[in-house]
């Protein structure tokens, strides 16, 4: 049994890393908004989904005009990522302005329910538009990076099977890492990043320092949603087929990743995402093996949520969420 697990390990790690990178960036959106507003923005999963649709729509349009064949895939990718980020960033900002800001001083539960409402709204709007344009709300985009690359892990040790990787794997991973590093730098090293942290810690006092709190909150939504939307594009490129409901489960898992890393903690969210991605892939590959076929691979989802429950019971502040010592 151990041997079988080891055989598939290289493939599990590669698939898990890809999926984990997706979770990680979506988790960032949850954690940033939570950090600043103490709001679980349930609509964030739908922002991700909208990003996937916007990106795919752009690619399909390019393909329709025959431009896709004539431009390098990398150029198309960058173009799609940038446009989609701006669109979903503005969408996130708009949602904050219209749905959350008027409720800023309302009880948290009310904003939470509003967020769930926004999330249904986005699902249906996207579904409506997709059906109108396409006749079907399940969309398959043109594949940008379709090559397969074999990695001969077996040459390292014969206990491993060879892994195969879609070339889009590297794209997803590289873009994800660039986004995470850039965000980390922005939050920790720039003036507006500092303002964001200050607003998250004490909104009233930040305002006394001449920080326009509304602007910082809008900025937070823009960045979180832009990253979420861009990740949607990566998801569509990696997995091909999308529908308006992909944001729900994925959003929940990304949220789990954020809680796992300590909600409000940006680096924690990145780590939590990667960890959940790898564990989920591990479960998918090995559950049938370990349980001798009793549990199928489809039970993998249980894993993420079992982790959520365990974390909440034993370490409610998350792996990296410090119970910070604050003297009065």
């Amino acid at each position: 049994m151990i041997n079988e697990v080891l055989h598939t390990l290289p493939q599990v790690l590669i698939d898990g890393l890809t999926l984990g990178a997706v979770y990680a960036i979506v988790a960032l959106g949850y954690t940033m908004v939570y950090g600043i507003l103490e709001l679980i923005n349930f609509a964030h999963g739908e922002i991700f989904m909208t990003g996937a649709f916007v990106g795919t729509a752009i690619l399909l349009t390019f393909a329709g005009f025959g431009w896709l064949a004539s431009m390098p895939a990398l150029v198309a990718l960058v173009l799609v990522l940038v446009v989609t980020s701006v669109v979903t960033g503005l969408l996130g900002m708009g949602i904050e302005r219209v749905a959350y800001r008027p409720l800023r001083n309302a009880p948290k539960l009310i904003t939470l329910i509003t967020a769930i409402g926004v999330s249904f709204l986005l699902q249906d709007i996207v579904r409506f538009i997709a059906e109108l344009k396409n006749g079907n709300y399940i969309l398959t985009g043109p594949s940008l990076f379709s090559g397969q690359i074999g990695i001969k892990v077996s040459s390292i040790s014969s206990i491993f099977n060879d892994a195969s990787v879609k070339s889009s794997f590297f794209i997803v991973l590289i873009v994800a890492v660039i986004m995470m590093v850039t965000l980390d730098f922005f939050v920790n090293k720039t003036k507006w990043g500092m303002a964001m942290r200050a607003v998250a810690q004490d909104r009233e006092t930040a305002a006394l320092m001449s920080v326009n709190v509304n602007k910082v909150i809008a900025l937070t939504f823009f960045i979180g949603s832009a990253l979420g939307g861009a990740t949607g594009v990566l998801f569509a490129i990696q997995y091909g087929t999308i529908d308006p409901y992909i944001g729900f489960i994925l959003g929940l898992k990304a949220f789990t990743a954020a809680v796992l890393g300590g909600i409000g903690n940006i680096r924690g969210a990145m780590f939590g995402g990667i960890l959940i991605g790898i564990m989920e892939m591990f479960a998918a590959a090995n559950l049938p093996v370990i349980s001798h076929g009793v549990l199928g691979a489809e039970y993998k989802d249980v894993f993420a949520f079992a982790i959520l429950i365990i974390v909440l019971i034993f370490k409610p502040e998350g792996l990296f969420g410090k119970v910070s010592v604050e003297k009065v």
Binding site: M194, R197, A207, S210
Partner: protein, 235 residues
């Protein structure tokens, strides 16, 4: 010349009438103190000035301009620095970042450094702790950092809300010494205190507030010897 003037300010907190027609004046170069017991409306007065709370009626004139309904982040730009009650240091920002937040509106890095040097001149202890997280400092250090952070704005008017709260007498002594020094160098100060004795000793003038109303005002040294004040606040 009057730098700040409140005219008949009425402020409500939910249903509570927290300030009932408060009028007061702070002249350029003065230390003015607002004393009163817990819940009398001292903090609300400062919050109304900085714009954290909106008054229902009345006027706030600062430097000749009406700033009555100005939001706090704009008030801060006019040169009013508000050191809030309980210091409100950003706990997970470093000491240095806390200071930098004070100079948020300043773009020139050199100016920020100059101001920081000036803060170190008043509070040398802060300099040794620049990389430490604000929340890990002692109460006295946090108060010094809170004042230092406000000084980074290079304010014309410094408003302090209970700087002595919860601090050892020797620290309170130091902080009041620095408030005096700042004033002697030309800064106008509005000091809210429960510690009336300390406050009246350094203040030029004082106001006594009671359940939202100014009930007495006068020179600091006169209030210090006033029978009613002695009985109510200095006993």
């Amino acid at each position: 010349m009057s730098l700040l003037r409140l005219e008949d300010i009425n402020t409500f907190y939910g249903g509570i009438h927290a300030l009932k027609g408060v009028s007061l004046e702070v002249n350029e170069g003065e230390i003015v103190t607002l004393i009163g017991s817990n819940g009398a409306g001292k903090s609300t007065t400062l919050k109304t000035i900085s714009g954290q709370v909106k008054p229902k009626s009345g006027k706030i004139i600062y430097n000749g301009q009406d700033i009555t309904n100005t939001p706090p982040h704009v008030t801060a730009l006019t040169g009013i620095a508000h050191v809030p009650e309980g210091r409100r240091i950003f706990p997970r920002l470093t000491v240095k970042e806390n200071l930098e937040m004070g100079a948020f509106s300043v773009k020139d890095k050199r100016v920020i450094e100059e101001r920081m040097e000036r803060v170190f001149h008043y509070f040398p202890r802060i300099k040794e702790r620049l990389q430490q997280k604000g929340g890990t400092m002692s109460g006295g250090e946090q108060q010094m950092l809170a004042i230092g952070r406000a000084l980074m704005m290079q304010p014309k008017l410094l408003m302090l809300d209970e700087p002595s709260m919860g601090l050892a007498p020797i620290i309170v002594e130091q902080i009041f010494e620095i408030i005096k020094e700042l004033n002697e160098e030309g800064m106008t100060i509005l000091l809210v205190e429960q510690n009336a004795f300390q406050a009246l000793q350094i203040a030029h003038r004082g106001y006594v507030i009671q359940t939202g109303e100014i009930v007495m005002s006068g020179l600091g040294k006169d209030l210090l010897v006033n029978e009613q004040v002695r009985e109510a606040y200095l006993a």
